[in-house]
Symmetry: C2
């Protein structure tokens, strides 16, 4: 074993020493940071970045940060999620099996999570769509006439049924709100616009239950993108808008557009890369439609007249750019929009790791924002 | 040439194929993204990130994003700044010469920038400290009884004299405020606490000119860190606090603590790495003092009672973590704190590239925040 490592190092050195010019080597092989002296790395990096153009980055090991809670540090240290991130089903049947298998695991975890959080789950139908009603043990008086609509994440393919309720339970518990979580239809069986039709049917039904100014819509990832698309569609259909929204790290651009799709690729341990299941799910959902249609990629829509919005992301989030681009565009449209970015967090880690202090902080901040902007 | 590249690839493949276990190879050599097929990269990354621990990243070329203005895209494409980022002077005399040389270039650019922005510069003394007074062509009526104090950036060593006034001129022009920019003393000749003593002397003098509620303090990088340290010290000395502050991508932690010191290393084309001039400047400024003293690293201070604060950063910023950690800590202390993060921006790029639409947006947003929180 040791001999092979030494041989490998020698062979590598030979390749390195005989190839011509640093630029050429950087296209073939590069020493990783830990095995190089800092001054060598510095020289190589300066040479590789001496002209205007793309940024050349060396191979690196990035330590788990010590600036987060131990619970979040452990989530950050996690390996990539397999098969979630790079799933590549070859048929509708394979998609359905994969989704069902993953959903079974996630759903099985929910009763214990709700028990720990003190949240009750009921099922119901609203506007012909299946929903879950999540009620915390205690709802503060100011929130008794308020109602939150939740749209779950999962790239438009994952998290059907109870598997999609975790974030709703967290918001109900940490925020003290009644939450209705939409179990919208998904591809391969139901591509766009089924998911949006279902979400809008629930919104229309909710308008008969509560004043729109007392309601908020929220969701993470795909749920964040759908939250934005719901407001766009409500504007278009001249429906009343919610009093506030909280798109968390929204999939606001279904194309691989935005700097962090590249800068945080391989660093984000949840999504890892656009070129895994995400790219496939986008096509599956769009079903031939232009991915830049604002109903699919709401970043291309008109944000004028949007209600107050709070956005959440993390420094390692593959969707950091989706989030900050959405924030900037909302601000440019004159919308009251708040941004919170959490240290070291990958995509949606605050919903996936329910008990970190940072997760509680995320939902508490969203709750404060809702309290400040919703009617009573 | 081509033969050598092919030999290199074959030799590499041999090493790859004969070594035992992907984990071992990832410690020695790795294929770079451009020359590997995506599926190979995916397999190598999955293997290298299959256990809890540090994140293993491949060598990569990151394209210039197309989600920013052409002007900002050109700034993002820039090579690393040499000798700024990795300067390593061996003596006080060498430091002074380097700083003077860089400052001469920056100062020479200022008259044309002010001319273009319509800003007038005057020099004055306040509390025994040299300051620059920057006045825009027009000050809106609501801002006539408002005054901004500016503390420049440059790692506590760069930008003495007129070289430090660029950000002040941008704020004066884009925001429509009168700005006083502090030309504080710096190491090697004047280490801590000279810079802070000067900044506080100007604050005390300013308190005789204007009501504190009508004044804000702002600055970027070191200027952002000093802005936070000034409020901490004003609290301690029981001086009146400003009505609002705007620490831009603050150097709130002089130690290499925070995730983006690593994740955005080599990606940020302004600071590039902590292990360049920054680490040396921190020692020079601290002059033996603990770098975690809250007057040097204000993130370790108590933010309770801070005035409303707006923070600015970019997705490629080496200080993204300094910024978001400061934001979270302010929010935890109950402070009204806004965060704005700009797509693709490296550290302080909005002050260094004065004419990008994004730079104008940064300062316009800060101005709106000041208008909302300062007395008239």
């Amino acid at each position: 074993m040791k001999t092979r490592i030494v041989s490998a190092i020698i062979a590598f050195w030979f390749v390195w020493a005989t190839a011509e010019g640093l630029q050429v080597q950087s296209q073939t092989v590069r020493p990783s940071a830990p095995s190089s002296k800092l001054s060598d790395l510095e020289a190589a990096q300066n040479a590789a970045n001496s002209k205007p153009g793309p940024r050349s980055l060396p191979a690196r090991d990035i330590p788990v940060p010590d600036t987060v809670s131990p619970e979040l540090a452990s989530a950050i240290a996690w390996p990539y999620r397999l098969p979630n991130w790079n799933a590549n089903p070859k048929s509708a049947a394979e998609w359905n099996k994969l989704v069902a298998d993953l959903a079974a695991v996630a759903a099985a975890a929910q009763p214990a999570i709700r028990e720990k959080l003190g949240v009750k789950l009921e099922t119901a139908m609203m506007g012909g769509v299946k929903v879950y009603i999540l009620t915390p043990k205690e709802i503060p008086p100011a929130n008794r006439n308020r109602l939150l609509i939740h749209v779950h994440g999962g790239g438009y393919v994952y998290n059907p049924g109870e598997a999609g309720t975790q974030e709703g339970a967290l918001m109900a518990a940490y925020g003290g709100f009644k939450v209705i979580s939409v179990d919208y239809r998904m591809p391969p069986d139901y591509p766009y616009p089924a998911a949006m039709d279902d979400a809008m049917a629930v919104w229309k039904a909710a308008l008969k239950m509560q004043r729109p100014a007392n309601m908020a819509i929220f969701g993470t990832s795909t749920g964040g993108g759908m939250t934005l698309a719901m407001v766009l569609r409500a504007k278009q259909e001249k429906l009343p808008l919610p009093g506030a929204i909280a798109p968390g790290t929204p999939w606001s651009d279904l194309t691989e557009t935005g700097d962090s799709y590249k800068t945080n690729e391989w660093l984000d341990n949840i999504l890892v890369s656009y070129n895994g299941y995400l790219a496939r799910a986008a096509q599956l959902y769009a079903n031939g439609r232009d991915l830049k249609d604002p109903q699919l990629s709401p970043i291309y829509g008109d944000f004028h007249g949007f209600p107050p919005t709070i956005l959440t992301s993390g420094t390692r989030d593959l969707f950091l750019s989706n989030t900050v681009r959405t924030h900037r565009k909302l601000r440019q449209a004159g919308v009251e929009a708040a941004l919170q970015v959490f240290e070291g967090m990958s995509h949606a880690q605050y919903t996936l790791s329910p008990y970190t202090p940072e997760s509680k902080e995320v939902f508490t901040e969203i709750a404060r924002f809702f309290e400040a902007h919703l009617g009573e």
